[in-house]
Symmetry: C2
Subunit: 299 residues, 2 copies
């Protein structure tokens, strides 16, 4: 990967710090095997602590800090984002869905715990996302606003809707408009919620929250474009999952529709639009760095 124009070691430290903050909180908040239902606790922790980058929490923190807020207020929300993301990965990997054996370099949940436990571990994480967000966020009005933002992003008009459209598009005729809706739903909605929610937690006004939402939407679209490129060009070792799976499943991707170079160019455009959206904020630096990171990531 090309070196970053900004200080990439500072960004690496920022990501590591965000990861540690959210993982410390999750370790405290998630059930342990001694809490009963040890196999469920084990399955929950297996998937949550599987070495994810914690990009959504980092984006929520960076959004809160971009408006002069305190990341501590956003920690329960960051945990909830990661739990929703993790539940969706477990369910996506199921045999009835994408039927994946490998995730983040390890066997998928249903390969280790069986399908029934994988379904239930996903359901448990899904419930806990809302439970933790609502219980741990001090201010009730903020807790409610963040819960609504999370539900909107994860539900019918967001992630789940995008998954359904993704399934429907397999083996179908490529269609750019449908592809945009799929990317927006299955990937960008939750990333958009991360930055909007970070702004809410940081005390931003409505216009600023909208600007952060625009950043998240563009960045989420870029993220999915890069994902589609990496599925073509990446190795199993770097990706931690099986590459070439999209093509094999006849998934509708920008790569299939327009080719690798067009997908890379679109990702560049989305990243530029994301950066433009937050240019006027008090402290946009980390959001800018994270946008470059999303475009240049190799896994």
């Amino acid at each position: 990967m090309a070196a970053q124009p900004t200080d990439s070691s500072a960004l690496r430290a920022y990501l590591d710090d965000a990861k540690q903050t959210v993982e410390t909180a999750l370790d405290r908040l998630l059930p342990a095997e001694a809490d009963g239902a040890p196999r469920l606790a084990e399955a929950v922790r297996y998937s949550v602590f599987a070495g994810g980058k914690r990009l959504r929490p980092a984006l929520a923190f960076a959004a809160a800090e971009a408006v002069g807020g305190d990341r501590a207020v956003a920690v329960p929300f960051a945990c909830a984002l990661e739990l929703v993301h993790t539940y969706s990965l477990i369910h996506d990997d199921l045999p009835a869905m994408d039927d994946d054996d490998l995730r983040r370099g390890r066997p998928t949940s249903h390969k280790v715990f069986g399908e029934a436990h994988a379904i239930l571990a996903g359901d448990c994480l899904h419930t806990m996302a809302f439970g933790i967000l609502l219980r741990e966020t001090q201010d009730a009005t903020l807790a409610r606003a963040l819960g609504v933002a999370l539900a909107d992003a994860a539900g019918f008009a967001g992630m789940v809707g995008g998954q359904v459209e993704d399934l429907a598009a397999e083996h179908g005729t490529p269609n750019a408009e449908q592809l945009y809706r799929i990317h927006r739903g299955k990937t960008a909605a939750l990333i958009q919620a991360a930055t909007r929610g970070g702004g809410l937690a940081g005390g931003a006004d409505a216009a600023t929250v909208d600007a952060l939402g625009a950043y998240g939407l563009h960045l989420g679209l870029a993220f999915q474009l890069v994902d589609d490129v990496l599925d073509e060009t990446g190795t199993a070792e770097a990706l931690g999952k099986t590459p070439g799976k999209d093509r094999q499943d006849e998934k509708l991707t920008v790569v299939a529709l327009e080719g690798l170079e067009a997908a890379r160019e679109r990702a560049r455009q989305e990243v530029a639009a994301a950066i433009e959206a937050v240019a006027g904020l008090p402290h946009p630096e980390r959001l800018v760095d994270l946008a470059h990171f999303v475009r240049e990531r190799d896994r």
Copy 2:
């Protein structure tokens, strides 16, 4: 069934009214096919409007009214209870779980829409439960308290935990303590949340909310005991699902452990304990009627 000592036609009218209230709200709040993702909207509505009794909403309303509150405040919560209940039925029926073909007299979701859509319809209902509850409950502090109660009941220490323990107990050695934990988790926790939440929505103080919770816990245990009895004695026509399924799956039930009569006697005891718990409330009449209804139901 034996006639009720209380006026059973009044209770029937109460249940019908509660059902209509919650179904009118759900019809307004759930996505329609015109909202995009038509197959997902169809799957969501297929399971939500499948002719359920809406017992949990009725219990939430009766709890609010037992403390002199207004059921209108509890409507979003009642919708959320029904959505969580419905998502859990869809996932329970999946081939990897109980593998049921029939639910409420109709083919199960995965039989009609396929496994992938059934998983996603369940996930969508699960998210919408929290979204609707948080968005539609006017008071943020109440919304948060109800969301926490719902998450506690549905998650690791409640419904999902009970399901996992239920799966683990199949083909195992019967154990009365384990059986109690299964019933409490997979069934009673959500019914307990219904009555606690109804009390919260009705403005009850903490001790009264606890009394309503004790009622719900006992009633939920009775409900599951009756369910186990009906699985042995009921017909497919009355139940709307395949009877004898528990025995076939070697499920751990009180019927298997202690026999039909002992299960019926335990249900009577739990109903009596439920009624006792709310005897001191201002208006316990409907809760008393509903407790008798749970014991005497035949489907």
